[in-house]
Amino acid sequence: MNRLSQLPTLKIDTTQKLAFTYKEKTYFGAKGDTIASALFANGVRIFGRSLKYHRPRGLYSLDGECSNTCMEVDGVPNVRCENTSLEDGMIIKEQNVKGSAEYDMMGFLDKMDWAMPAGFYYNVMHKPAKIWPLAMKQIRKAAGLGKIAPDHEIPGKYDEIFLNTDVCVIGGGPAGMTAALAAAQKGLRVILMESRPWLGGCFEYRSREYQSRQTLHDRAVQLAKEVEKTENIRLFTHTSAVGTYNNNLVTGFQIGKKEDIFDQRYVEIRANSVISAAGAIERPLLFDNNERPGVMQAACALRLAKTYGQLPGKKAVFSVGHDFGLEAAIELHDLGLAIACVTDIREDGQNLELVKKIRNRKIPLLKGWVATKAHGMKTVKKISISTLDGQISKTFACDVIVASAGFTPVTGHITVNQGTLKYDSHTGAFLPDQMPEKMHAAGRVLGLEDPKSIEVSGKLAGLKAAFDCENCSIQELGDAKKELEALPGPARGSKLVTAPVKGRKTFICFDEDATIKNIKQAIEKGFDVPELIKRFTATGLGPGQGGIPGHNLPLFVAKYQALPDISIRPTNVRPPLVPTLIATYAGANHKMFKTTPMDEMQRKDGGIFRNIGVWQRARYFSNDFSSRKEIENVRNNVGMLDASTLGKFRIHGPDALKALQRVFVSDMSRVKQGRVKYSAMCNDDGCVIDDGVVIKQGENDYYFTTSTGRAGQTIEWIRYHTRYDGWDFALVNLTDSMGVINLSGPNARKVMEKVVDIDISNEGFGFAEYKTFNIADTIPVRAMRLGFVGELSYELHVPASYMKAVWIMLKDAGKEFNIRNFGVEAQNVLRMEKCHIILGQESEQRTNLLDVGLGFLWDRSKADAKTVGAVALRQAENDQTRFKLVGFKMENNGRAPRDGALVVDDKVRGYIATARDSFSLNEAVGMALVEAPLSKIGTRLEIFEDECGDDRIYGKVVAMPFYDPEGNRMKM
């Protein structure tokens, strides 16, 4: 096809050809084409088939308002071809067809609409119940548009960018550009987002006069040049704003250019002030077969010619309700399109100059007439038009119907940010009512059509934004307001909702194949609110969301129920305002885990890592997940564990002790210098939420640890529970700045001796004692003698920067003893044999301090403490219905049950917290939480494992701990 050339508005370069594959054949488009415009140039009129009735669908809008031109491109489904740029080598396929879009074997469904009224599926296929699963399979197959393979990998690079600005302008049309310029001239940083690849909006493709010897197109070019050379405007073209949120957060996505390092980029902008200048789309005209290929919107027909250099067909009939429609007819006529007739819904009120131009061109103009039916099986062949009352009708042969009832301001950016709209009976549109704070509307969003009004409204919005940023005076605002008031306001809009038709084939929503008749059916069934009708008929819930039906649905519902104008409310619009790829939203897809200072060295030693909470930790050091060697080495020799993930805090100040008394259950005034105190924290229900050790470093100065999982919440926890007291203390989170090495095993002292200078004999540094010293006169260490794993053990707290050094020193010193790493799983077994609990493993949401046998920690006589949880603990003391933690051994030398197995009789009575076949003890042992009556020593536990069927295994409650009950080994 020969393209129109020499037009200043063209965005294609016909000298540069791009090859693409469609239906397994090679076609060519021009550089600058969209996929749809290239296909159209190659004669394609039917782009796909509709969801329900498999009706042929063609080019209707050029801005992606419906799914008509959704196709599969390079394996990616539902690509809106009408605004996706053509690229060399693209492979394009039709969607939702059996056969081809041209010859679809499912096309007969179009005749079956009588069997598929609104919500029909709720009334059928459930009797008898047996048929439903079969029917459902067929429904699933029939539903859905595009296809994606389970192993599909979308190519391309996806990036993200987070920006901060004074003013963010949504829309790069005349209003948006003027707004951006006005704000920028006030010295503000401005971001301008435009969804098309170029600026200019509704001026860009029009030749109508802006002022003497300047067309709208010329004006658009002029404004764009000014914007581009303004340094404090950052321009994002080909960037759709898809969401606006609280406090003016704007999100969008940008399509990359050839030279960009990304294909698509997620854009998130925090702006002080936002201007919504997103323009308007056309309100579809409702008549029979109003979506037949060949029917298109006025701007679509015009832009097809002026942007992409192709006439929409040979002979057209126009059925429009606004001056822009007349303007498009004149321009297209002058470009060579034969026009059989122009019908205008309005009986009067047309721009006289435009009417004159139409008459001069000998185009018949019928006022008060409207299209009633498009004829033609697959594409338009003929049209019926009639007077508004349907009394007189005529037909014309044609292959294009340009149909447009009015305009719909694009207000989604306002309403998703909680702005409100109001039905305006002058324009027949929903116009902004309450704007969100620091958000301003401009241009066609306000219903304006006059070019000068559009620009001045942009300037006013730009100044309002500057005012938000305190860079504009009230005087200036007032002047701009006056300037706007002197110009023409919004034009009167046509009120027609439907042509005089019954509506069986009048589509209010293309994507979901919902007709006017369906809407009537829904209303008759009692769905009287547009939101409910939406749900029942799926109108506006398809890939194009509310683009096509959003404006017409509430108008029609009000008209059909004869409701007054005041009751007309818009339906909800929801983000993303343009469907957005999951890949784009995901952006760079960060992995954010914390690693300890020993991460690299443990990996070198063969550590197998797991994500545990926010950390990555070495769980095993071999592929034997029973960790036998690691365990035996700790029991018989010496091992080292990286415990750096423990929460570590300093609390100091005159009231530090009071704060500790509040959150810890023990009497913290008894913490002695040089000793380590183990204690726990409870919540208001008495449930244990944390445990750790506390050390007194000096007067009013304490250092304490928390479990790994709680570290993030500890400061907030203590602040919260002391919030009314006005106590004077400071809390410092040292978790990331300190590392911890746990050196454990009978040979631990021998290793330590080689590294430290102090006396570490059992007399010099006994169990539960605490010392600070320097290694090599340089590295400050806090050392504690603890016994979590049940052996002689030293826990060394070292500044993170020295961790590697100390780790290497210990490793070198331990070489002669065959020191080895042990991981989290080995520690888990070692401490379990000793019946030391891990919160979250031997406790759950409802487990309190007493239940896990830690009641001895609780000091009831604390004077002024008001310990968190104490009230609940007092209540629970005599409650015999609670779970208790017990130790158990398996009967007859049986294997250990799996963690999470149940303790049952005829009901569930508890569950296994941790159980292992113990290498140290040569038998299976574990801990379980069971109802109190089962907690007596000697009780037989019936254990129910998953998949056990009728088989049970049995254990017996025994005294805890299992290993070294006297504790001699850790105190040696």
Binding site: P77, P117, Y122, G144, I148, R535, R846
Partner: protein, 407 residues
């Protein structure tokens, strides 16, 4: 023939000056309770008072997943019964609730999660509910789109597979129950706001609405996310409920690609494909109490990041709509069902968090029994309000929940 268009829940009627029972809230729990009161207990003089329209709240905003893989012995039987009721209700109501019995796959990403899953599975099996622990490879066979490589943030260790679960068309349940209610004579008053409950000598006497006062001896508040505020405003009863926003979203429709409900605790993400072909996905609540249904920018991004990793083919699919609803969360993730205790004749059914949809059928049945007989059925007894006073949480989650700093 089979498509006569008559109003499904009756013509708009005048509000009478008295009813035997008034139910505040036009969601699923209200409709189900009214349905069973009228069907099984002969109590038909019922008014349902709804401020907006039926199904406005959680009933129309949830992602329609049903399952019975709860954690404790108090909850599993209730949800099991709810699950068993879908086919029964479809038949009774003569309305296709579109139960897609596709099964739920709950992914596990650590040894600790596998343990937690094993306990839940054992509990299910003990109560006769089918559920199995499967490994990553088996999970991949069920869901070919799953990424079971080690190279993701939370590598998949295995999954809990729960075949009896699935998806029910939530709107259909609302409309079907409303249809059933209307058929039995229950009056549904939409766009009517309940303003107050009148009491005398510790007994319910009336309900004041925006359309006049109704005399009644029994009131049920089951107004989803709004229940806690209503109950406090009208009767001064403070409930341990935090109301949080929960968001959900759908992609553009696709041909079948996901045959099961897939969820992941570590990723805070679930996904299932609706009968229409959309991938519906969502997960956890916003981390702060909030009575709005506003969406946030980070949430949809988070979902995309999560899906990108464990269902990577979805990277080529587009999100088209996100919305928000309210979840009324209790400290133990289990609901509060109580009545005749604080005020005689006053019943409450709330604190369902995001479990309100899957439970509605069975709860309606038992709440109806409770209200009709004025005696709490055994099934509901563990859910009384007093348990919080006694500091006895239900244990519905293993970990402590934290909605706000006071927890």
């Amino acid at each position: 023939m089979f498509f006569k268009n008559k109003p499904m829940w009756g013509k708009k009627t005048k509000l009478k000056s008295s009813y035997d029972v008034v139910i505040i809230g036009g969601g699923l729990h209200s409709l189900a309770t009214a349905y069973y009161l009228s069907k099984e207990h002969g109590i038909t003089d019922i008014a349902i008072i709804e401020k907006n329209y039926i199904g406005f709240g959680g009933a129309g905003r949830n992602t329609a997943i049903v399952r019975a893989n709860q954690r404790t012995r108090y909850n599993v039987p209730l949800y099991k019964e709810a699950l068993d009721l879908w086919p029964v209700l479809t038949k009774e109501l003569d309305y296709n609730l579109m139960f897609n019995n596709c099964g739920n796959l709950n992914l596990m990403h650590s040894e600790a999660a596998m343990k937690a899953a094993r306990m839940t599975i054992a509990t299910a099996q003990f109560h006769g509910v089918e559920s199995h622990l499967i490994d990553a490879k088996q999970a991949k066979e069920l869901v070919p789109a799953l990424n079971i490589s080690e190279d993701i943030t939370f590598p998949i260790h295995g999954a809990m597979f729960h075949p009896p679960g699935g998806v029910v068309r939530h709107d259909a349940v609302v409309w079907g129950l409303a249809k059933g209610c209307a058929k039995n004579g229950v009056q549904i008053h939409q766009q009517t706001e309940a303003l107050d409950i009148g009491t005398r000598n510790g007994k319910v006497t009336s309900v004041t609405t925006s359309r006049g006062t109704i005399n009644t001896k029994q009131v049920l508040i089951s107004a989803g996310g709004y229940s806690a505020a209503l109950i406090y405003d009208m009767l001064g009863i403070k409930l341990p409920i935090s109301v949080l926003t929960i968001q959900a979203m759908v992609t553009q429709p696709l041909k079948p690609v996901l045959d099961h409900v897939v969820s992941s605790g570590a990723y805070h993400c679930y996904a299932n494909q609706t009968l229409k072909g959309e991938i519906a996905t969502g997960a956890h609540m916003d981390p702060w109490p909030n009575y709005t249904t506003l969406n946030t920018a980070h949430y949809i991004k988070h979902q995309a990041e999560a899906l990108s990793e464990f269902l990577p083919c979805l990277r080529g699919v587009r999100f088209m709509r996100i919305w928000g609803g309210l979840a009324d969360m209790t400290p133990d993730m289990a609901p509060i069902m109580d009545g005749n205790d604080q005020v005689e004749g006053f019943f409450m059914d709330c604190g369902w968090g995001y479990f309100g949809f899957k439970s509605c059928s069975a709860v309606g049945k038992y709440m109806a029994q409770f209200m009709a007989g004025n005696e709490c059925p055994g099934m509901l007894k563990p859910f009384n309000l007093n348990r919080y006073q006694e500091h006895k949480l239900m244990g519905e989650t293993a970990a402590l929940v934290n909605y706000s700093p006071d927890n």
